[in-house]
Symmetry: C2
């Protein structure tokens, strides 16, 4: 419509006599320029929906993901002296669906965190924050990190590779049981006639009189749990923190005590991993992990008894529920006929 009225006016102008021929050419040029500007305007309106920066779209998606605090999780990985494993694992974990951010708790006190190396190998799918620590403490990973925005924490040891299908499934289970630790490593305590407890795994006597085994803890080093439990941990008696500092151990046992006490039922749900590996043999650092220390297992029994003393109760509860993903691997539910 616009163009035709312009042409009408143009024709009207064109009908003017004599000496206005120069003006006619000028006005015709103006009309042409106007038409071109209109066309350019139309193109500009169309272009962005076709040629939008895909990276920009991806960043927008991630920002909106961050606002759904139940729909994504934060990976917290504490590391000491196994940077080769750490970087290999970060390459894997950074690509896991629903991951919001990674917080690396850098316990190598004398050494600078590899921020520059990390950035030089970007871009990365999600933000990774390296938190330089002032002391090499086991419980550093249980701080209330200001960078943590999600309700869910995925906590993984710096030598543990958990496959993406396992993580996606376990996260979906956590969303159904958000007050419990949903993880891949079950352990238990056993009572003895003397009232002294022992810590152990499947090789230990199964509690109760029925079939099968039971677990009463799910270790946090390969698990999802509610980020509010980090605050709970900080509020525990000083004796609990001191125990963990003295042993450089048992932070996970303490977390199970805290959660079981809080919810009045079993602290965790065991999800059987389909594909989870420990990479510690692959490190060139010469460092082999805390659980190889001679006193490690005994310490954990010691911790249980100390914690029962501190809390004046044994809040851990047994469970024999093992969760697997229906149909993964294929037809894993078919009956033996």
């Amino acid at each position: 419509m616009k163009i035709s009225s312009i042409l009408e006016r143009c024709c009207h102008i064109c009908k003017l006599p004599g000496r206005v021929m120069g003006i006619r050419v000028l006005r015709f040029s103006l009309v042409v320029i106007l038409v071109l500007l209109l066309v350019a305007g139309a193109l500009t309106a169309l272009l962005p929906s076709v040629k939008e920066d895909k990276m920009l779209m991806l960043r927008r998606e991630i920002k909106s993901q961050g606002k759904s605090t139940m729909d994504s999780f934060t990976l917290i990985m504490q590391t000491y002296n196994r940077t080769d494993l750490l970087l290999k694992l970060l390459n894997h974990y950074q690509a896991v669906p629903n991951l919001h951010k990674v917080i690396v708790v850098w316990n190598n006190i004398g050494e600078k965190a590899p921020d520059e190396l990390w950035n030089s190998l970007g871009p990365h799918p999600i933000p990774v924050i390296f938190k330089q620590q002032t002391a090499n403490r086991m419980r550093n990973r249980l701080q209330v990190f200001p960078e943590l925005e999600t309700n869910a924490v995925l906590m993984v040891d710096d030598d543990t590779l958990i496959s993406t299908p396992d993580l996606v499934f376990a996260f979906s289970v956590w969303q159904q049981f958000p007050d419990q630790i949903v993880g891949f490593v079950p352990r238990k305590h056993v009572s003895t006639l003397s009232g002294i407890y022992s810590y152990g795994s499947f090789e230990m006597q199964a509690p109760g009189s029925g079939n099968g085994d039971q677990y009463s803890m799910v270790l946090i080093g390969a698990s999802f749990f509610n980020s509010k439990y980090l605050e709970f941990f900080q509020r525990q008696p000083a004796a609990v923190h001191a125990l963990i500092d003295d042993t450089q151990n048992c932070d996970d046992i303490a977390m199970n005590f805290i959660i079981a006490k809080h919810i009045g039922k079993t602290s965790g749900i065991f999800v059987k991993p389909v594909n989870m590996d420990n990479l510690e043999k692959e490190t060139n650092s010469g460092y082999s992990g805390m659980w190889h220390r001679a006193e490690h297992a005994l310490q954990r029994s010691y911790c249980i008894n100390k914690l029962v003393n501190i809390y004046d109760s044994m809040p851990l509860k047994y469970s024999n529920i093992m969760i697997s993903q229906f149909g993964f691997p294929y037809a894993n539910y078919k009956r033996k006929i």
Copy 2:
């Protein structure tokens, strides 16, 4: 003390002169009788704690069990024309821990239920009630039986043998999820572009885009569910009952619809059976079970679409949670290293 005072009196009497010799003998006899009675009384007081009728004790235990309505369950087994299988199965199920009572829904209209045979082969651990039906209907098993005293129903088809460890474990799972069907047979519905649904099992397309499969129904013919759902079923629109009567099928699909609608989440939880068998090949009755009818599978798809129509919604929800018993069979949770 009593005996000595009697003896004293006796001696006193004995000291009496002459002609009382006859009385002396009489009194001595009385003393002997008295002593014997006292001894017999003492024995009677001791005997019951040693020789108590064990059957009586068992009956008392069962009565007190019946009062804990969450701690025991009622088996409801509907049967048609496979009495050989029924009796073999009853021999197995009657011994399952935490079983309160069995209700046999006797659909053999022209035939008398085997009460006499059953009683002649007693005593039995728990009561078994044979309920003679007036018409051979699939939905007879979903009546609100007055004899049912427990919160939990175990419903089993009359050709299905579920091992005791499976039942004990699944019951413990039901106690943790009492509003859902906890059972051993998962099925699903699939959507199609036309909006028409189809019913199927693992061979059908897995819904969603992730790994593995999903289920949206747990069949009631090998499951635990809350007995209140029998009342719910009775309250459903007449069209639902008519559908089940017309097809002699789909009562279990209807139950899944009802429960999913009521709780707003997936109707059931699948527990993977370790040892569950179908005995239909072992019957001498010549009868082979409803699911062998040519139209059976098609009917079930038909039922889903009819129910969606009746309820004006598709309330079924998908789940991929598969539960197994931790440590049974032994070390079933060990990682593949």
